[in-house]
């Protein structure tokens, strides 16, 4: 169904892109991936709560391990920096789940097509639709909030 991030981890699946395909400096940093078993709103909120602790933990480690040096580096000349022809998909773990970027280039300095795969799209449409079935009206708010859907992120 496209569930990623806390929504997935709240169902007991230990999956985090930062662990599965470490990017940036995540392979140099220690952190846990909190999970819960029940897959309901309550577990999602707890996963988020635990992740906050992990995040603080990560930031503290970054401060310790950050190398000395220039903060701002000049980027190469944008007119000469051509994007090689072809297409690519890269993804990171965002605060809401998998954030992916699909990019098609025809070898020029600007991409030909760019599409963002945002977590709010599957969470907010497909999953919400499933979860809301037979739920009581009073729970709708909690379910929606715990899915962490952001309207502008749904379609990019």
């Amino acid at each position: 169904m496209g569930a990623t991030g806390q929504v997935l981890r709240a169902t007991g699946v230990n999956y985090d892109i930062r662990k599965a395909e470490p990017y940036a400096a995540y392979d140099k940093i220690e952190f846990d991936v909190p999970t819960r078993e029940d897959g309901d709103a309550y577990s999602r909120i707890w996963v988020i709560r635990d992740e906050m602790i992990q995040s603080v933990h990560i930031i503290m480690q970054c401060f310790e391990k950050m190398p000395e040096g220039e903060v701002y580096n000049k980027i190469p000349n944008p007119f000469k920096w051509k994007i090689p022809e072809g297409k690519t998909y890269v993804r990171v773990e965002s605060s809401r789940g998998e954030l992916g970027l699909y990019l098609v280039s025809n070898g020029e300095d600007k991409p030909y097509r760019v599409h963002f795969r945002t977590p709010s799209y599957p969470h907010g449409l497909t999953i919400l639709e499933k979860l809301l079935k037979n739920a009581s009206i009073a729970d709708v708010g909690n379910i929606m909030i715990s899915l962490y859907v952001t309207a502008p992120e749904i379609d990019r």
């Binding site: 000049k74 000349n77 944008p78 000469k80």
Partner: protein, 626 residues
């Protein structure tokens, strides 16, 4: 009951409680009478300083939304190296990312802190950004400004927000430094001063170019600069050389001594250092050991027409190259023992080694151009003979005689060209221990620096000095800044602002130079007409004086009756038409004898034009029954 009255009382008083808010600071803005003050680096509508904008179009290229189009503004008269185009911004597309500000080389484009745009006419949403300097009416002082007036027609003055900062700009304002032999070492011998870029350095330098092509407009020969720089960046020096050879067949020479008209206008030079265009050309020619393989050029089918080129300088070489590619048979005459003309005798070897000249000349010879060196036209072969035997003639002669100061005893002074020539191809000159060079131009710098090296070679370990005296003060000295700087580094003494008065001679030996202080060099009309303070004098000691104050043309090889028919411009240059043709039938000309700009690349530009002219002249002639 009790409850009821309480409720009543409350509801009766409550509206009056609101009165207290009249005296409190409101939580909302009373728009449109009040406006929110945007942050200092706010990115609102564009401002563009039209005086600084060069019309390079980089902003239009970088815009990710294609919001910027360059429109021609007829009222702007472009200076050389500028275009009369200005960016027009479509606010339906603009996302206010500010990339255009970061790429703008002169920093003319800015984003203001204006964010309101009210107008009845939707067309105004695409606006030609101006600033308060060029467009005073539409910018109101901050106190007169109100939101009611806020529209494109009324913007606030002094309201710059996001401006360009060189530290964060999208281009690199600093040049990759060129490795050079240090002054202490280089003044002792004639080794080439500039070592040349390595592959890495060349690529890094080439990556700075923004491909705006302003330089190509400024280059007299309109070389495809951005293309050949791009090829270097892509690590294809042979491709780069092919691009260069389309317009310039002597890259090894030009890559060393060109006057760099292009670098003077390079966008990046406006706030930083220009792209090292000349060194990159030199790099391309140095990287390729054998031009022939890289270029794969071959002359067209032979036409059977014969062209004589007099003078194997840059112009003569280029004309020969272009005509040979068109299939004509070309013979080049020159009095020197090798090709290059003034390039062979002028620039000292630390700037232009003879091997580099020969590399270019040999390639042109390998295309089938015949060279007749050591052949002085008018002495070894007469101009009439050439005139009779060839279908067209190109005069590519340079300035071959030195001007003299004509002060007292100036016959004891050494003429600059003779000095350079003797050193390069003659027996060499015995220099004095204290040499005085008169002149402030590039030739004077060459002479002075060459003399210093000779002194170090001829008097090793002894105290020697070379001084220069020039009429011009520092600010108007005609030599390039680079040359002056390098000469200073090597320890040459400068005496700017002094004019020569008399060369003191004792027992037939030079003792020194008497100088007078210069009042002004040019008169009110800007003509060269120096005046002096006769009472302020200075005596410079020295045992040798070299005059390097300019050169003149020598036409003595052309027979009198023909010379009379040759027309001249008011400034004593040969008059030519758009095809490079002179008033004499079948004689074309270019270079120093036509131009006021006495440099190699101008000669190449003339040669290109004349080659076209000669080609169409010969083709036209072959059609006529003769």
């Amino acid at each position: 009951m009790k409850d009821k009255s309480q409720v009543k009382k409350g509801s009766f008083l409550k509206p009056f409680k609101a009165i207290k808010y009249l005296f409190e600071k409101p939580g909302t803005l009373r728009y449109p009478f009040e406006q929110k003050e945007p942050s200092l680096r706010y990115r609102g509508f564009h401002l563009n300083d039209w005086d600084k904008c060069t019309g390079c179009g980089n902003c239009a290229d970088i815009c990710p939304n294609k919001a910027i189009t360059m429109v021609e503004v007829p009222e702007i008269k472009p200076k050389p190296g500028e275009k009369n185009e200005r960016p027009k911004i479509d606010y339906g597309r603009c996302c206010f990312c500010g990339l255009c500000v970061d790429i703008c080389p002169p920093g003319s484009l800015k984003l203001s802190r204006d964010y309101l745009h009210i107008h009845f006419d939707k067309n105004t949403f695409s606006l030609l950004a101006k600033d308060e300097k060029t467009d005073k009416e539409h910018f109101l002082p901050a106190e007169e400004y109100s939101v009611l007036k806020a529209s494109l027609a009324h913007r606030r003055k002094d309201n710059e927000g996001f401006v360009s900062d060189l530290n964060y700009s999208l281009f690199e304002p600093k040049r990759v430094p060129m490795p050079q032999v240090p002054p202490e070492e280089r003044k002792l011998s004639f080794i080439e001063q500039v070592i040349g870029y390595s592959r890495e350095e060349a690529k890094r330098e080439a990556s700075r170019c923004l491909e705006c092509k302003l330089c190509e407009d400024a280059c007299p020969a309109h070389l495809k600069i951005s293309d050949y720089i791009k090829a270097i960046y892509e690590d294809k020096p042979d491709e780069s050389l092919r691009k260069i050879f389309e317009d310039n067949p002597i890259p090894a020479i030009c890559g060393r001594i060109c006057m760099k008209h292009c670098e003077k206008v390079c966008s990046l030079g406006l706030r930083g250092e220009p792209v090292a265009i000349r060194w990159l050309k030199r790099y391309a020619s140095d990287m390729i050991k054998d031009y022939k393989e890289a270029l794969e050029l071959a002359p067209a089918k032979t036409t059977g027409k014969k062209v004589a080129v007099i003078g194997a300088g840059p112009g003569g070489l280029s004309v020969a190259y272009f005509l040979r590619l068109k299939g004509h048979e070309v013979t080049v005459f020159d009095s020197l023992p090798g090709g290059g003309g003034m390039m062979r005798i002028g620039p000292p070897p630390y700037r232009l080694p003879v091997e580099s000249i020969d590399k270019d000349v040999n390639y042109i010879a390998s295309l089938g151009v015949k060279f007749k060196f050591n052949t002085t036209v008018g002495k070894d072969v007469s101009f009439e003979d050439i005139y009779k035997n060839y279908d067209a003639i190109y005069l590519g002669i340079g300035t071959t005689v030195s001007r003299s100061t004509r002060v007292k005893n100036s016959d004891k002074a050494y003429p600059a060209l003779l000095f350079l020539r003797e050193n390069k191809i003659g027996k060499g000159v015995k220099v004095g221990k204290e040499v005085i060079v008169i002149g402030g131009g590039n030739v004077a710098m060459d002479v002075a620096r060459e003399s210093l090296r000779l002194q170090h070679i001829q008097y090793p370990g002894e105290k020697v000095i070379t001084k220069t005296v020039s009429l011009e003060d520092w600010d108007i000295m005609p030599a390039t800044e680079e040359e002056i700087e390098e000469a200073k580094e090597e320890g040459i003494e400068f005496n700017p602002g002094w004019g020569p008065k008399e060369i003191k001679v004792e027992n037939g030996k030079v003792k020194g130079l008497l100088c007078v202080k210069v009042k002004s060099v040019f008169d009110e009309q800007g003509r060269f007409n120096p005046t002096f303070y006769e009472d302020k004098q200075m005596f410079l000691e020295g045992d040798m004086v070299i005059e390097a104050i300019g050169q003149a043309l020598d036409f003595s090889f052309i027979p009198q009756d023909m010379f009379k028919k040759l027309e001249f411009t008011p400034r004593r240059k040969v008059k030519v038409d758009d095809n490079g043709k002179t008033s004499l039938p079948k004689v074309f000309a270019g270079g120093d004898i036509v131009n006021l700009n006495l440099d190699a690349v101008t000669a190449i530009a003339d040669a290109k034009r004349a080659a076209e002219g000669i080609d169409s002249y010969l083709k036209g002639k072959s059609k006529e029954p003769s």
